[in-house]
């Protein structure tokens, strides 16, 4: 699908922020306007490029669908890999460390394109909301740009080494942003906790990926006739490892009788899912979100958590489908705890920002739950939820930040009546709130409904073997419990809305509260509009996500 695009658009998306960061670091810290100008120009440029990627891809989804159906029909050696390769667009491939089979291979497919767009949106919103940072704005913007570059890198990486490179690259600026510009009372503790949690998960996954590299390489060395022409047996390229996986390279006994895929899947999936806040490793997330400065909360809850869910699917489910079939039926319990427990805790919070922090845990549980359905309906819902929740949470944190900047407190009971002074923020928060409780007509409904539907569908096929005892049809029970999470979500959203935005406004207590600046309005529109657009017109995204999921499903043996 690269015809007509000779511009290395994905590299530009990664390197514009990096170059901007370097330029910023060399600037005079007194030139605040210029610093802001460069940052917003870089963010706007990557957003424009991201939109070009998204809509460029979206225009070809229909043709792709037909192609994928044909490839699946034809069968052949590896239909899933063929479907995946066919779906890649804007590809770039340059050898990096040839002797180890590492190449700088970028590309987007139906799953990553929405994430690329989301990252662009949140990047612009993040720069705008940090407009008035006083302390060392030069460093703040430079590190923020590096963070954006790292996040982009993960979403567009097709080579697993590149994926890890950018994954780890994103961690350091995030630490520094939270620790330096975060909420004084919590920032150091929260930043460290968050960094260590995320890194532990990812480095264990890294060892797993290195093991995959050797097993796949050995497989190709033993079966040279299967190796694509001109390729190295040992390679970190996702397409090649997927090819090996589809040929059964990972279904060989590894530890005793247990296959490689079954041994490594939980480590890789949960290792990445730590970043998506999977229970019991969600603990970093509320603290991290609360401690972070608003821009970082937005990018963190909005994009980085998706990065975990995305990588868990990409590396875990897509490359180790056999392990997924064995392990996801119990991992689904963890996701249920996420959904319900997260919502309960959110309900109990007094701190405005903690409510949103725990709601993220709850909503990201739905994404992992969607992956665990292992069928098209549920996974499409999860894919939509990634985008929807990203925009929604970024919007929430934006609103919280705007309220906090003016009221200097986040204690819910002491706030009230803010919609009179800040109608834009109030309205945006209500849109976000309705999205999060799954109101039809907004993107939350479009995302959550298929997840629940997918759970029902999955209920018939998925069983869990515990010793000699077989648990079957339990997905349908889980989904009923998960629906409870939605009810609680509605409860806390309504509670927060009524207490913060309605009721009496105390003008003496909050003299500084007034309406928001034009930059803030841009943020609210930028993040709020997609929630409504996808809500009323889901086919702008759903078919695209489905096209990205079909290869994964083909790997799982479910078909399109």
């Amino acid at each position: 699908m690269t015809e007509g695009f000779s511009l290395p658009i994905l590299s530009l998306i990664i390197f514009i922020p990096i170059v901007a960061a370097v330029i910023l670091l060399f600037m005079n810290p007194q030139q605040r306007d210029l610093i802001r100008g460069i940052s917003i120009a870089a963010a706007a440029a990557v957003l424009a490029l991201s939109a070009a990627v998204y809509f460029g891809y979206n225009g070809q989804v229909e043709a792709l669908e037909a192609e994928q159906a044909r490839l699946l029909e034809e069968g052949g050696d590896a239909p899933a890999t063929a479907m995946f390769e066919r779906g890649l667009a804007f590809e770039e491939k340059v050898p990096w460390v040839e002797s180890l089979g590492i190449s700088y291979h970028l590309g987007v497919d139906g799953l990553s394109a929405p994430m690329v767009l989301l990252t662009g949106m949140v990047a612009v919103a993040g720069v705008l909301i940090s407009w008035n940072i006083q302390d060392r704005i030069r460093e703040f913007m430079a590190f923020f740009m590096l963070l954006v570059a790292g996040v982009y890198g993960v979403f567009v990486a097709i080579d697993l080494f590149v994926l890890f490179f950018f994954y780890e690259l994103a961690i350091f600026p995030m630490y520094l942003l939270i620790a330096t510009w975060g909420w004084v009372q919590l920032r150091e503790y929260a930043a460290m906790k968050l960094t260590l949690y995320i890194l532990i998960g990812s480095v264990i996954a890294l060892v797993g990926v290195i093991a995959m590299y050797f097993v796949a390489g050995q497989f190709f060395t033993d079966n040279p006739n299967l190796l694509p022409e001109g390729a190295r047996a040992y390679s970190f390229d996702m397409t090649q490892i997927m090819f090996a996986a589809e040929q059964g390279a990972f279904n060989v006994p590894y530890v005793g009788e247990i296959t490689f895929s079954q041994v490594w899947f939980p480590f890789i999936f949960i290792g990445f899912a730590v970043l998506a806040g999977v229970f019991p490793f969600h603990n970093w997330s509320p603290d991290g979100h609360v401690a972070a400065p608003t821009a970082v909360s937005m990018i963190h809850a909005g994009v980085l958590m998706k990065l975990g869910a995305y990588a868990a699917l990409r590396v875990g489910v897509q490359l180790l489908p056999e392990g997924a079939e064995v392990h996801l039926p119990w991992i689904v319990f963890l996701t249920l705890i996420n959904v319900v427990y997260g919502a309960f805790i959110a309900f109990r919070q007094r701190d405005f920002k903690y409510v949103i922090g725990f709601s993220s845990v709850s909503h990201m549980g739905l994404v992992s739950m969607g992956w665990a359905t292992m069928n098209l309906t549920g996974m499409t819902g999860a894919g939509l939820q990634m985008f929807s929740h990203g925009a929604m949470t970024a919007l929430f944190f934006g609103c919280v930040g705007m309220v906090y900047d003016r009221a200097h407190t986040r204690d819910i009971p002491s706030l009230g009546g803010f919609i009179k002074k800040m109608p834009w923020v109030g309205f945006a928060f209500i849109v976000g709130g309705l999205t999060s409780m799954g109101m039809p007509g907004l993107s939350g409904f479009i995302a959550e409904f298929p997840i629940f539907q997918g759970m029902w569908q999955a209920s018939e096929n998925i069983t869990l073997q515990i010793g000699s005892f077989t648990l079957s049809n339990y997905y349908s029970i889980l989904v009923i419990l998960a629906a409870l999470g939605i009810v609680i979500t509605a409860a806390y959203v309504l509670r927060v809305t009524s207490q913060v935005f309605f009721g009496e406004f105390d003008a003496e207590k909050y003299p500084e509260v007034g309406d928001i600046a034009i930059t803030d309005r841009v943020i609210l529109i930028l993040l709020g509009a997609p929630l409504i657009i996808i809500g009323v017109y889901p086919s702008i995204m759903a078919p695209m996500i489905q096209s990205g999921l079909r290869p994964v499903l083909a790997m799982l043996g479910v078909g399109g």
């Binding site: 961690i171 630490y175 150091e188 460290m192 264990i204 060892v207």
Partner: protein, 500 residues
């Protein structure tokens, strides 16, 4: 084993850096005598340029060759492995000289540079030593100057103490190593390390492997001291803390790199992977021994580093841990195709620049403020943002976070471990790197987050240090991105040279 017919002109390239270093030493001595006190600062610059220029000489006579040649009657082995290590040791010496320029009590003393050059000479010899005599001579040529350097600040109690400690522990370790070497000589009657292996594997050798294993353990203990691997690390924190900082930097990179070069060459040559004595696979034994050393060093170094308050002590414990990571690569040498040696070569190359970067930043800081405690780094990003940024890059590289070179370095090591079926060792390694990340991040946090009363007092950045920081930072970043392949392939070539 084929020893070249002696031909003076053909043999010369193999010791070109050593010849150059000897000349340099004489030049520096002459300059020290002839220059007036006010101009002695220039000796540092002369030494820097001279050593940096010498770093090209290993490559001067053609590209690195994979096929090794024994030269000078079998004393020296000229191959790609010795080349890469010589280059990094010479660069380490060069940068050490430049970073000493502004240190009080050192910068203007010609003899300091003289001793650094002599120690560098020993390091380059270690990288190519192929004979037991040469091994020991080279080791002592590195070490004895370092004992002097550690105690260079005569009036400073800590410096004298560190010199004394280093000397006592060092000579003890040398004695143990020498005992091991003499045992090996006694069993085989050979001094050339390549001939020893041949004899050990032949039918002439007695069938009991235990004495050989004993000698091996002695030798490993000696090397373990030199690379500051636990449990032979006791000297490290005190010497690192007490010695003048440029010396600490030099000890932590040049001496360590040279010792690793010798370690891999010696063990692969004397106890190759196909060697079995009395039906006993010898290699399995030392691989397990090294794996245990690696685990102990990593864990101990990282855990003890957590509680340090002095930045040099912190880096001392971190250097113990880094030795542990590097030993993972040594343990992964299990076959000719293994990436273990290449990973060690790359790791040491990037570690040289990384550690020099970190120490250069510390020198600049402590010369300006007189303090070496971590807490005093508070507000550094406001006092000199460049210094803070450079230090951050160095610490991130030590922690293994991209785009700094440490990420590639650790990646290669863990990859080699997984390849050699030592997945458990790789897991221990990655978990340790998390512990390590904690204390590196704490330092970064102090520089960026913590406030201090002095933060409106900027720290000046003299041009010599701007060069040191600039060169090392850019080297670390390039090695972590575009340059990784070039150096790794070079190291891999060196690795094959080891087996041919």
């Amino acid at each position: 084993v084929f020893v070249e017919q002696f031909n003076f002109l053909q043999s010369l390239p193999s010791i070109a850096p050593e010849v150059g270093l000897t000349i340099m030493a004489i030049v520096v001595l002459a300059l020290d005598l002839s220059l007036p006190e006010s101009q002695r600062r220039n000796i540092a610059i002369v030494s820097f340029i001279g050593l940096a220029a010498l770093a090209i000489t290993p490559l001067w006579w053609g590209p690195p060759s994979a096929e090794g040649q024994l030269m000078w009657g079998g004393m020296i082995r000229h191959d790609a492995l010795s080349q890469i290590f010589k280059v990094m040791i010479l660069l380490a010496g060069a940068i050490t000289c430049l970073m000493s320029i502004g240190v009080k009590g050192i910068g203007r003393k010609g003899e300091f540079y003289l001793i650094v050059i002599v120690s560098t000479l020993g390091g380059t010899l270690m990288a190519s030593a192929a004979d037991l005599i040469m091994v020991f001579l080279a080791l002592e040529t590195v070490s004895i100057p370092l004992y002097i350097l550690a105690a260079f600040k005569r009036d400073d109690m800590k410096s004298s103490e560190s010199g004394m400690k280093y000397f006592l522990f060092g000579s003890f370790a040398s004695a143990i190593l020498l005992y091991g070497l003499s045992l090996i000589y006694g069993y085989t009657g050979q001094t050339n390390i390549y001939q020893i292996a041949e004899y050990l594997g032949s039918v002439d050798f007695a069938n009991n492997p235990v004495p050989v294993l004993g000698a091996m353990v002695f030798i490993l203990v000696g090397f373990g001291f030199k690379i500051s691997a636990a449990p032979f690390h006791f000297w490290t924190p005190d010497v690192y803390e007490g010695a003048p900082t440029p010396v600490t930097a030099f000890v932590s990179v040049a001496s360590k790199a040279a010792s690793f070069a010798l370690l891999v060459r010696f063990f692969v040559a004397v106890f190759p992977f196909d060697l079995s004595i009395g039906g006993q696979e010898i290699q399995g034994f030392w691989v397990q021994l090294v794996a245990v050393l690696a685990v102990v060093s990593m864990t101990l170094g990282n855990v003890l580093a957590l509680s340090q308050r002095n930045i040099k002590r912190l880096l001392a414990y971190s250097s113990i841990a880094q030795a542990g990571y590097t030993l993972i690569g040594v343990a992964a040498i299990q076959s000719q195709t293994s990436q273990g040696v290449a990973a060690v070569g790359f790791y040491m190359f990037m570690y040289t620049f990384t550690n020099l970067l970190a120490f250069a930043a510390i020198i600049l800081f402590s010369e300006a403020t007189g303090s070496e405690t971590i807490a005093d780094l508070a507000g550094l990003s406001r006092r000199n943002p460049w210094l803070a940024l450079a230090m951050t890059v160095g610490l991130l590289s030590l922690a293994g976070i991209p785009p700094a070179a440490g990420f590639f370095g650790k990646f290669y090591l863990f990859q080699a471990a997984v390849e050699a079926d030592l997945t458990w060792l790789a897991i221990v390694g990655v978990l340790n790197s998390i512990v390590a990340l904690y204390y590196y991040l704490v330092v970064i946090k102090v520089m960026y987050v913590d406030r201090s009363e002095d933060e409106d007092k900027p720290i000046p950045l003299p041009s010599a240090y701007a060069w040191v920081l600039g060169i090392t930072t850019i080297a670390v970043l390039i090695l972590g991105t575009f340059g990784a392949q070039v150096i790794f392939d070079w190291a891999a070539l060196g690795a094959t040279a080891l087996f041919s």
